[in-house]
């Protein structure tokens, strides 16, 4: 099977899944079954195609003719890498959706299974078409409209219609910006391939090029969620769509924006020649990225609705990627080989964030499925009843916080360390690196809150009326699948870095071509990624894990050294009372002084509305907080 065949087979499976849903009508169990099998098949072909392209090292180029319109299609190493991520995430979400939609009403399930394959096909299109004209429009509209519908059907209409509409409005304005900006290239013909646009830009003057780049930065930036555009739609959309859909939105939809930014600033801009000022655009990306990562993460800390918390934190994490793209441009401009390392970090973080954020949204979905509430104030102590979900959430939280021996550590290390070393004589890069490191502590605080107050602590058993049980295996299996990939990203960084290097080597017209995969092996500025077979810092998670484990065993030996017995006792509250629902530590108290201190960053409204209590009927007051 060649790459082209695999692509068609994958699209065919998605189409079949769409048709099957229509034919099966009200037999909703069959709809879910057929949809799951066919979409999974589509994901399999998609992954096959990605592997083929990365394996053979041959980009795939073809031109589609649809009713007289020519659509250039280009699947090179970079597309293949993102397609692989898409196939993994779509598979995870689809499998999760099978179990998740079991208890949802028939009408919604039917509609969801109509929109889901279209959504995935739209994403495939965005990653493969090579123009900003008809092909791009087709893919974008498939993606935008289907995901609008998916967001709309995620919650009762009273709650979902507004965020869904806002989402659609911003997606359409992004489309206008992107397709419109292309007309600035002199002699542009609607449907030119990206390489041609780059060439035409070189003859259109520096002002036109600057406006072109600004338009695309805004357009793709809207989609990735850069500050302040992301805040306008991401929290609403991600927390409204049902969790398996949010997992796709945060995991891959956002990354297609990153993909677009990479395509524009590292491919098209190269063709633009002198009209493209890498210094200026590098600085713009660094400033925008730094603002995005800081503000997004600080806003996340304020949320009591865990789905909103995850949504805001997505904005923050994407900020890291945008920052890294900018500093990579700057480093390249000053001739530093660090550009390649930082760029590899940005791509690595895109893959990592795709996996662990999806995993977080799926565990969030499990929580919602089991407890029926999205309010952290009402949860607590769930680890005892939902141990598997708890462990998976802990893994994802640990990874996204970038702790040592996790996947987040590797990618954040590549980006931030690169920033510091490249920032030796650039104040901007050093400051951006410091803010990024500072924000890592905020990320940790966010996820301590998420994991700590949902799974440890206490409270759910008193505050929720239903009995809580571990979610069924059909929800756990896809989560475990993603968790395994997340672990592989933590412990096999060398494999992934080679994969990224290989994908860049299979990609023509790459701006950093000179500092590509080959020089990743070199030894720039005392920083080595590969040292023979032995790997350094970021790439030596196993050494650090072994160190930690050995010392933990030492601690355990010390604890047991005098043969102390463990005794189970009730919590001690100064002898006045027992632990009950009136005196557990609720989420709104957490970090109250810090929230006040960072009030100016916005998103302070922390009202959580569960599905069963519609707006207007809510009278849960924000009581005084304990600091």
């Amino acid at each position: 099977m060649t790459g082209t065949e695999a692509l068609w087979l994958s699209l065919l499976s998605l189409l079949l899944s769409f048709l099957a849903t229509i034919f099966l009508g009200k037999r909703v169990h069959l709809v879910r079954l057929a949809g799951t099998i066919l979409i999974s098949l589509g994901c399999f072909f998609l992954a096959w195609q990605g592997v083929m392209i990365l394996g053979t090292g041959q980009p795939l180029e073809l031109e589609l003719k649809l009713a007289g319109i020519h659509i250039p299609v280009l699947i090179d190493g970079l597309s293949a890498l993102f397609l692989l991520l898409l196939s993994v995430l779509a598979l995870g979400s689809t499998l999760f959706a099978y179990g998740y939609y079991e208890t949802i009403e028939t009408k919604i399930v039917q509609k969801v299974y109509l929109a889901l394959p279209v959504f995935i096909a739209g994403l495939v299109g965005l990653l493969t078409v090579d123009d900003l004209g008809p092909g791009f429009t087709l893919a974008w509209q498939l993606m935008a409209v289907s995901s609008y519908l998916l967001v709309r059907w995620g919650r009762p209409l009273k709650l979902s219609s507004r965020p869904a509409l806002v989402y659609l409005a911003f997606m359409e304005s992004a489309w206008v910006l992107i397709t419109g900006a292309a007309f600035l290239a002199k002699g542009y013909h609607f449907g030119d391939s990206l390489a041609v646009i780059g060439e035409k830009l070189s003859g259109s003057g520096s002002v036109a090029t600057a406006i072109f780049l600004a338009g695309l930065l805004l357009g793709f930036g809207l989609k990735t969620g850069i500050f302040p555009l992301g805040q306008l739609w991401i929290p609403g959309a991600y927390s409204t769509a049902s969790p398996p859909v949010s997992a796709l939105l945060a995991g891959i939809l956002e990354k297609t924006g990153v993909f677009g930014l990479i395509r524009i600033f590292f491919f098209v801009a190269r063709g633009a020649g002198t009209g493209f000022d890498p210094d200026l655009w590098g600085q713009v990306l660094v400033v925008v990225g730094t603002l995005t990562l800081f503000i997004g993460t600080v806003q996340a800390i304020k949320q009591s609705d865990y789905l909103r918390l995850l949504a805001y934190s997505s904005i923050g994490q994407v900020g890291y990627i945008v920052l890294a793209l900018g500093s990579s441009l700057l480093a390249w401009h000053s001739g530093s080989p660090l550009a390649g390392i930082i760029f590899a970090g940005a791509v690595y973080h895109s893959l990592n964030h795709g996996i662990f954020k999806s995993l977080l949204f799926l565990t969030g979905g499990s929580l919602l499925h089991a407890t029926g509430t999205r309010d952290l104030n009402r949860l607590g102590g769930l680890l005892a009843v939902m141990p598997v979900t708890g462990v998976l959430a802990a893994l994802a939280s640990y990874s996204i916080s970038g702790m040592p021996a996790s996947s987040g550590f590797v990618s954040k290390w590549l980006m931030i360390a690169g920033n510091f070393l490249a920032g030796k004589d650039s104040l901007l890069l050093t400051m951006a690196g410091i803010v990024a490191l500072f924000t890592a502590a905020f990320t940790l605080a966010c996820y301590v809150k998420f994991f700590g107050l949902a799974f440890t602590s206490a409270g759910a058993s008193w505050k929720l009326k239903r009995e809580i049980r571990e979610v069924p295996g059909s929800l756990l299996v896809p989560e475990i699948f993603l968790a395994v990939i997340c672990l592989s990203q933590a412990f096999l960084p060398a494999v992934y870095i080679r994969l990224i290097g290989r994908s860049l080597a299979t990609t023509e017209g790459f701006l950093l071509a000179g500092v590509g995969p080959e020089s990743l092996r070199a030894n720039p500025v005392g920083l080595r990624i590969f040292e023979g077979q032995a790997l350094l810092a970021a790439v030596a998670p196993l050494a650090m894990l072994v160190l930690l484990l050995v010392l933990a065993f030492l601690a355990r030996w010390l604890r047991q050294s005098a043969g102390a017995q463990e005794v189970r006792v009730p919590a001690w509250l100064c002898g006045y009372q027992d632990l009950n629902k009136n005196n557990v530590y609720a989420d709104r108290n957490m970090f109250s002084d810090l929230k006040k201190f960072f009030r100016w960053t916005g998103a302070n409204n922390n009202l959580v509305i569960d599905d069963e209590e519609l707006p207007g009927s809510v009278s849960r007051e924000e009581k005084g907080v304990i600091s």
């Binding site: 680890l383 104040l427 500072f438 890592a440 650090m544 010392l551 463990e566 509250l573």
Partner: protein, 299 residues
């Protein structure tokens, strides 16, 4: 041979950390016109705690795991240190970022253990502890980053050496900031807000007792010593005579002096409220940003 260097790192810190607490208690007592416990009292306390019953208020595995992780991660950070001006055996697979994250991991373990206990006092303590980590970690990071931008490497030995390599404006500013922050790093008055015995009953540790508490206690001692060591190695690095044994002796004496200073400040200042402390920390963060900025400009 090289692995023994790591063991020396660990033994040096493990052996000396409780003694430094003894110094702290004795100095504090003398300022308050008391006799004070003998200098070896903290060792006795640890031994006594190890022999007591291990009370568990949560029943969670997380509650049991937290002290182990806290202790292991602070020791991991210590294992990476270039003690006595010698590069660590692990320097090849670790650097400054690993060090910073291990320190955060240690703080993280304390507060996840606190949250696991379910006690609301511990919750308040955990919340305060996390806020302190958020605001203070940058000061520590920026001290090391000052070394990084000077030395151009993330290696710990060169980075700590880089801090004092140019004694310009940035060096003095950063040193002043670090000295003030040190009081909060070691959580003594006026910054012992997360524990605040008389207010929230030792906060995060309220439900811990016996061997588990001994591990946390030990972790706190190690952490205090770590931050003092970093000051000595970074800002006073030029005092080192060159011979590893003499280096270690000089560093030990300087750490002792620093501990006396910390105790004096701690015994003579009342505790801040959290919101006051946050403003204070924010000023420290801004000042250290200025220091790094000056450092990049070569001042």
């Amino acid at each position: 041979m090289k692995v023994t260097a790591v063991v020396i790192n660990l033994l040096y810190f493990l052996a000396l950390a409780p003694f430094l607490e003894g110094v702290m208690r004795r100095v504090t007592a003398r300022i308050q016109s008391r006799q004070g416990p003998p200098l070896y009292q903290p060792y006795l306390d640890l031994l006594k705690l190890l022999g007591k019953e291990n009370l568990n208020a949560a029943g969670h595995p997380v509650f049991r795991l937290a002290p182990l992780l806290a202790f292991a991660s602070i020791l991991s950070a210590i294992a990476l240190l270039p003690l006595a001006g010698q590069s660590s055996f692990l320097a090849h697979s670790s650097d400054l970022m690993t060090l910073i994250y291990f320190l955060t991991l240690s703080g993280f373990s304390i507060l996840i253990g606190a949250l696991a206990s379910g006690n609301p006092f511990a919750g308040v303590g955990a919340s305060r502890e996390m806020m302190t980590i958020i605001m203070l970690e940058p000061v520590l990071a920026m001290t090391l980053i000052l070394g990084v931008v000077r030395a151009g490497s993330l290696n710990l030995l060169t980075a700590t050496g880089g801090v004092s390599s140019v004694r310009g404006l940035s060096y003095f500013l950063m040193m002043a900031v670090y000295l003030v922050a040190l009081q909060a790093f070691v959580s003594r008055q006026p910054f012992d807000i997360p524990e605040a015995e008389v207010e929230i009953l030792e906060g995060p540790y309220i439900e811990y007792s016996g061997p588990n508490y001994a591990l946390f206690r030990y972790t706190l001692n190690l952490k205090r010593m770590f931050y003092s060591w970093l000051f000595v190695a970074g800002f006073l690095g030029f005092f080192l005579p060159g011979n590893p044994v003499l280096n270690l002796a000089v560093q030990t004496v300087l750490i002792l002096v620093l501990f006396v200073l910390i105790s004096v400040v701690g015994a003579t200042h009342p505790r801040f409220r959290m919101d006051q402390a946050l403003r204070f920390y924010a000023a420290l963060v801004l000042l250290s940003l200025v220091a790094v900025g000056l450092g990049v400009q070569g001042w």
